[in-house]
Subunit: 314 residues, 2 copies
């Protein structure tokens, strides 16, 4: 099997590449290195089963070439900064929805019809019951990032219905772990590195979300991709519980050793407009396939904190 | 109140314009006349409360100008030909999703924050329970048109969540009636006009959908827009029952008077890839606002057949 991984030099994408290589796949990566980093895939560059294309998914010519002679596309690329949509409104449209269109269209032209897509729990919006099952509706995303994920899901299922594609859509909880390049733990460590006397937390710290360790995430993807065969296979991926931002701040302060840092809250129920204060996915459907996670949310947070302190340095 | 109606020279849009003018609104229409027709709004051209802009929603400059000094945008414009997506894959993306982005962004820039959107029952896809309630999920559209409606819904709710917009989203059943420019009844009349000895029906004729008369539709929109005040107000609009394509063929043959026409079925469960064979929306939520329809599906079909025979001529 030859797989194309879009965003394969990024945080989750690079872990997926490791997993695919371990499973015996030939792997091509396309990444524009806007948030991805060659350092995350350099260990495969000498492997003859691996190749890298520096390409931009918003340019259909780049992706048209990359989808030739491929058996399955793992579409992981996206703008990873959800907050950016509050400032610049066309990034998620272009790098999300339109990029997904370009991929689907180039796959159709090249006769490739299996796609695995990294969607997100943020498609559900903020009024969903917790834990949120896959059949919750209507999906009312409140961030532009969430809109681009919902728009991409619809494009994918329409290529299934119209052109006979087969799809695996994964709605991710907050994925954290080694090689993380953004998110709350990453931000907290950088803030403490700059000023170890205080840690500013956006919101009141009562935001509470489900966290999934990145290796748990990519293993779940591979397990479900291998073991489900519907035209559309849609699964939440997450862990069994949640962790509050307040608790994350305590863990980061603890692990950095900056025990005198004052944790200060900016107030309000959320970090920014479009942030979802509380989120927890139902993972019953994932569990029913026989896959379970190794980390609960707090363990994933502590593990990630240790990894990122080592990567970032204090 | 000053309303902008996108696609206001189109089938449903022009009926909405009539309703808005009757209700005392000032109405601006923007339409590129690709499927719209000045004949449908000519009766308002002398009204000083009415104005028309020939503009293209895929060009943000056109829409940026049109959304100045507006209180509410009724976004009705779209490619009306669902089948087109099987041949040309970027029409719905550009005239659907990207046009909706352009509208939202120009509204944000111009300080306009109320949007009413014509979505569609096809966002649900083909495996939804019937009648389908608004909270059905996941939405798995099978047509590219459906994907563009789902993508637009997500964009709209993200502008609500991120920029404080207020939205009314209407998922339409099959809307039929006077001034129709496409759809099964329109096609059947044209086929019989060309050859009154036979009527070719795409599929086995057992496709069965809910039909709503267009004046019922725009009155329901106005009623719900006036009487609901949530940040996002999402409603199915449809009638109480369904009508089969087989029955529509019989009604059209009956009303045209071509009683000798042989009704011939091409076979298969659907008219084309991306067509949904059976669809019926739950309208409980609409009914709970106090609005009920004047026509059931079969009465709407017969009424529309009479209107379109008069408009098209035999």
């Amino acid at each position: 099997m030859r797989a194309l991984v879009t965003g394969g030099a990024g945080f989750i994408g690079s872990h997926l590449v490791d997993e695919l290589i371990n499973a015996g796949y030939e792997v091509n990566v396309i990444d524009n290195l806007s948030s991805g980093d060659m350092a995350l895939i350099n260990h495969h560059m000498q492997n003859e089963k691996f190749s890298f294309i520096n390409g931009d998914l918003t340019l259909i010519d780049d992706i048209m070439h990359a989808t030739k002679d491929i058996d399955v596309v793992f579409h992981m690329a996206a703008n990873p900064d959800i907050r950016l949509g509050t400032q610049i409104t066309d990034t998620d449209l272009k790098q999300g929805t339109i990029a997904t269109y370009n991929i689907l269209e180039s796959m159709r032209v090249n006769g490739v019809n299996k796609i695995v897509f990294a969607s997100s729990s943020v498609v559900y919006g903020e009024d969903a019951p917790m834990p949120t099952p896959e059949n919750h509706g209507p999906c009312l995303p409140i961030s532009l990032y969430g809109a681009s994920k919902l728009g991409s899901e619809g494009l994918i299922t329409s290529w299934v219905g119209t052109f006979g594609f087969q799809a695996w859509i994964f709605r991710f909880a907050n994925i954290i772990g080694e090689r993380g390049t953004h998110g709350v733990i990453f931000d907290f460590i950088h803030k403490l590195k700059r000023d170890s006397s205080r840690l500013e937390v956006l919101g009141n710290g009562l935001q509470e979300k489900s966290y999934m360790e990145v290796k748990d995430c990519v293993r779940a993807m591979m397990h479900i991709f291998t073991n489900t065969k519907e035209p559309v296979n849609l699964f939440n991926l997450g862990s069994h519980d949640t962790c509050s931002v307040r608790r994350i701040a305590e863990i980061v302060v603890d692990e950095t050793g900056y025990h005198d840092a004052a944790i200060e809250y900016t107030g309000g129920d959320r970090g920014w407009a479009g942030d979802i204060p509380k989120a927890m996915l139902s993972i019953e459907k994932m569990l029913s396939t026989g896959y379970d996670v190794n980390y609960n949310s707090e363990a994933a947070v502590r593990h990630t904190t240790k990894c990122l302190i080592e990567e970032i340095g204090l």
